[in-house]
């Protein structure tokens, strides 16, 4: 029980530190939202009347009358009540609404792509590790090269070839804009179709890591005594590979996967930018570009909670699975 309490206390401190950083970091950025907004409007052929600046200052309430400390406690208080504030860049929408609209797209796209990449990578890694020394070993450098290629470049190349060139996939967007979002088959089909290429790029660029890790664990698991014992018992190869070697080899990958699930909500800013995909990454970019403190804080908070939550779950699960991590006295 002491183990779990210790862990929970640690995570609470980590949460407080993260929340405080969320408050501090955006405020260290140069500029203020009103000037950014004015400059944006001006660039888009809007008004440059000096009166407009005063009006927007009044509207957005960035007078800077309160002290930073006061703002900080107000921020903590609002967080405790679940009030993330009003987004300046999507004024007057609530931050929670902006995040709520964007989050499902990211979670589904990046979540599915991460899952797919994990399953494929681990599956292939197990096979490659099992059959080491055969032509399958070539998969390791091949997928590693794809991971090493800068992601944005890989994505742009795939867009140029598969979308612009061959026309197999749509260029951008999350769904066909003539359709109404909803649970109709047509819309879901369109969303799948639009998500296929972005997901493909994520899978291609991340599969190498899973494959390499799994393959190496597989190789070392195969030299363990229990594999030798299983062989001696005359078990079939497939049974040894799946139930004995892979089962043990996959443990570190599962931990890695759980942590990467936490990062799913932070989305992939580059993916969403390249494909004009609606999601949390593009919202984060929008927030940063507009000095939208409330939106930045909101998104950072969601990311923080997701990452900490995933870590906590992994920590607790490991405590259950592996007694060595739970009780210090049994180690060494």
């Amino acid at each position: 029980m002491g183990y779990h309490l210790r862990k929970l206390a640690f995570y609470l401190v980590a949460l407080w530190a993260a929340v405080t950083l969320n408050f501090v970091v955006p405020r260290m950025m140069p500029g203020n939202p009103v000037d950014i907004l004015m400059a944006k409007l001006q660039q888009r052929g809007g008004t440059v009347d000096p009166g407009a600046r005063k009006a927007y200052e009044t509207l957005l309430g960035t007078g800077g009358r309160d002290s930073v400390l006061h703002e900080y406690f107000a921020y903590l208080g609002n967080l405790a009540r679940g009030d993330l504030g009003i987004s300046v860049s999507a004024f007057p929408a609530k931050v929670s609404d902006v995040i709520g609209d964007a989050l499902p797209w990211t979670v589904v796209l990046v979540g599915l792509a991460t899952l797919l990449s994990f399953l494929l990578g681990v599956g292939l890694g197990a096979v490659v590790g099992w059959k080491r020394g055969t032509w399958l070993d070539a998969l390791v450098p091949a997928t590693t090269v794809l991971s090493a290629v800068p992601y944005f470049w890989l994505a742009l190349i795939l867009v140029a070839v598969l979308s612009s060139g061959l026309g197999w996939f749509p260029l951008n967007g999350g769904y066909d804009v003539v359709l109404d979002p909803g649970w109709s088959a047509e819309f879901i089909g369109s969303a799948l179709y639009h998500g296929a290429l972005p997901a493909l790029t994520i899978v291609i660029s991340s599969i190498g890591g899973w494959l390499l890790g799994m393959r190496n664990m597989m190789v070392s698991a195969m030299s363990e005594d229990y594999v030798l014992t299983a062989r001696a018992k005359g078990l079939t190869d497939s049974r040894i590979m799946v139930r004995y070697a892979a089962r043990n080899a996959v443990l570190p990958s599962v931990a890695g996967f759980a942590i990467s699930l936490g990062f799913v909500v932070s989305g992939s800013i580059v993916t969403e930018q390249v494909f004009s995909y609606p999601g949390i990454g593009s919202k984060l970019l929008q927030a940063v570009q507009n000095n939208d403190y409330a939106l930045m804080q909101g998104i950072f908070l969601v990311i923080t909670i997701a990452v900490l939550g995933a870590n906590l779950v992994v920590d607790l699960l490991y405590g259950l699975i592996d007694a060595r991590t739970r009780d210090r006295s049994t180690v060494s």
Partner: protein
């Protein structure tokens, strides 16, 4: 590579399952115009034209009283108003309204709506973007009088052309109009909202429009991730109109079959200088001789061809927008137009007589300080960056060293607002009517600036000049069209040429690409009925009304 193949097949399977859904409305019948206004990321529902985050509605849904065309020096076009006149001293504006107009929900439009709208703006500082101080009263259903506390001829275009008339019967119940998002907009305009989705929204023709139902049946607004996505979409033929540079613009008809481009001057590219040492600016650029030397050392022909694809044009050091303001260019200017080729002798002479001495490295210096300046530019603004790199080479010829400094957008905007820069490259903008008065009042008046360290808007140069302020005060009291304005324009232009707080570079062209095959009626150089930038409101609404599907 078998994995890649496998995944491609997987992707293909999804593709087939989804059927061949059309992308971006290409498969639509061609009475739908698809536009890209530069919206990056999803649309956030907001049809309140008084909100800074509006997505549409100015002119299309909610009309102003008159349309002021800043692209050409023309009389304003009557919309909800039919005529207006000022009293003798410019404190009373009488407006006659159109009689046969109804709101899109069926109610009749009357003078009460105008009085309500102007009152709402005057009462709400958060809506009052033009510092409007008048009081409006309705004399009958079609006549409104607006009284101002002081002569306000120059506020006319703001009141008549930038106040979007809202329906009193809907808006009187809105507690806080500044935070209203107006999800079901009611307007008098040629279009009404059809449907809204975060990735795109559609306006449809208003069958009850007082000017007759527009030939264009639908306008679809798309959101894309930025300029590159815009160019890709243009290439794929999935948008019909966008504003912004594209590669190889002059061969547009070859590269993008069916599309045409028009480039029109809207602003003036200049080197902004933090010019006023008295207001706290620091650096060699606070010396007018240095600014003028840069002006003469510039090879504008080369900058135009290397950085701007030759779409920019000559500009006048008096900051009149050419060719629109041709008639206003002062005869008292030394250079009617900024020289396109460098005048090295003149630049050297200016610096020498200001006490600068050329050092061994070829750079001028004064009091032991070499003439080196940093110039700030936004990272990613490739045309400006190229221009500055070209300029840096050119200015070495006259013994001035400038160092381009690339900054993030926010950092740059902050430095500009607070005067924490020596030089930066940006453009000087226009006001609500075809009149350089607004440019002068915004960018050159003492009233629009602040000491360095505080936020100034929009006179970033900290320029403060009694002659200019005096002339602006006189212009404010004189009606547009009165020949007495001439001398004040002359006085301002002479001062601007003398001090150059913004060093003229070139008149900036705004390129627009449009689908000329599917739609007719676009503005052309011969018929500039509106400024043809898709993000310029209410100009875009004028274009929408004129457009016709080809063949109709």
């Amino acid at each position: 590579m078998f994995l890649l193949k496998r995944l491609c097949t997987l992707g293909l399977a999804v593709l087939l399952a989804a059927g061949c859904a059309s992308s971006g409305g290409r498969g639509q019948s061609r009475d739908t115009l698809v536009v890209y206004t530069g919206q990056a990321g999803d649309f956030q529902l907001n049809f309140n034209p008084y909100s800074p985050t509006f997505i549409e509605g100015m002119g299309t849904i909610n009309e102003p009283l008159f349309f002021f065309n800043i692209a050409a020096d023309q009389p304003p076009k009557p919309l909800l108003g039919t005529a207006y006149s000022w009293n003798g001293d410019g404190t009373e504006l009488s407006i006659t309204l159109r009689d046969n107009v109804s709101w899109s929900d069926g109610q009749k439009f009357t003078a009460k709506d105008v009085v309500f709208t102007l009152g709402m703006v005057a009462k709400n500082p958060a809506l009052n973007k033009t510092a409007f101080q008048g009081t409006a009263t309705a004399t009958d259903d079609t006549h409104v009088v607006v009284k101002f506390p002081e002569p306000s001829y120059m506020d006319g275009p703001q009141v008549l052309g930038q106040m979007w008339i809202m329906p009193e019967h809907v808006w009187k119940d809105i507690a806080n109009p500044a935070t209203e998002v107006n999800p079901k907009p009611v307007g008098t305009g040629p279009f009404v909202l059809d449907d809204f989705k975060p990735q795109s929204f559609t306006l449809k023709a208003n069958p009850k429009y007082w000017g007759g139902e527009p030939a264009l049946k639908r306008i679809r607004y798309l959101s894309l991730s930025g300029n590159q996505a815009g160019v890709d979409a243009l290439k794929a033929g999935s948008i019909d109109w966008q504003t912004g540079p594209i590669p190889d613009l002059k061969d547009i008809e070859k590269n993008y079959p069916g599309y045409k481009a028009i480039t029109l001057p809207l602003n003036q590219v200049a080197l902004f200088t933090c010019s006023n040492a008295q207001l706290g600016c620091q650096g060699a650029q606070t010396d007018p001789a240095v600014r003028r030397a840069i002006y003469y050392g510039m090879n504008r022909t080369q900058i135009n061809s290397l950085a701007f694809q030759n779409v920019n044009s000559e500009m006048s050091p008096g900051f009149t927008l050419l060719p629109r303001d041709n008639a206003l260019v002062s005869s008292k200017l030394t250079d009617r137009l900024a020289p396109m080729n460098p005048n090295t002798a003149k630049a050297n002479e200016l610096l020498t007589s200001a006490g600068y001495v050329k050092g061994a490295d070829g750079i001028y210096a004064k009091d032991g300080k070499p003439l080196t300046l940093s110039v700030k530019v936004v990272a990613g603004w490739t045309d400006y960056i190229t221009a500055l790199e070209t300029l840096a080479q050119q200015l070495l010829q006259i013994g001035i060293k400038i160092t381009p400094q690339q900054l993030s957008w926010n950092e740059w905007a902050d430095a500009r607002g607070r005067g924490q820069y020596e030089l930066l490259i940006d453009s000087v903008e226009q006001g609500p009517a075809p009149d350089p008065y607004y440019t002068y009042a915004y960018f050159f008046s003492t009233a629009a600036t602040a000491p360095a360290g505080q936020s100034a808007y929009p006179n970033y140069s900290r320029f403060s000049n009694a002659t200019v302020d005096q002339a602006l005060a006189e212009l404010k009291k004189t009606d547009r069209g009165n020949p007495a304005r001439r001398q004040h324009y002359d006085a301002i232009q002479v001062e601007l040429e003398k001090y150059m707080p913004y060093i003229p570079v070139l008149t900036g062209g705004v390129p627009n690409e449009y689908n000329a095959k599917a739609f007719t009626g676009w503005p052309s150089k011969d018929d500039l009925y509106a400024f043809p930038a898709v993000w310029k409101r209410p100009d875009a609404s004028q274009v929408y009304v004129k457009l016709k599907p080809a063949g109709q």
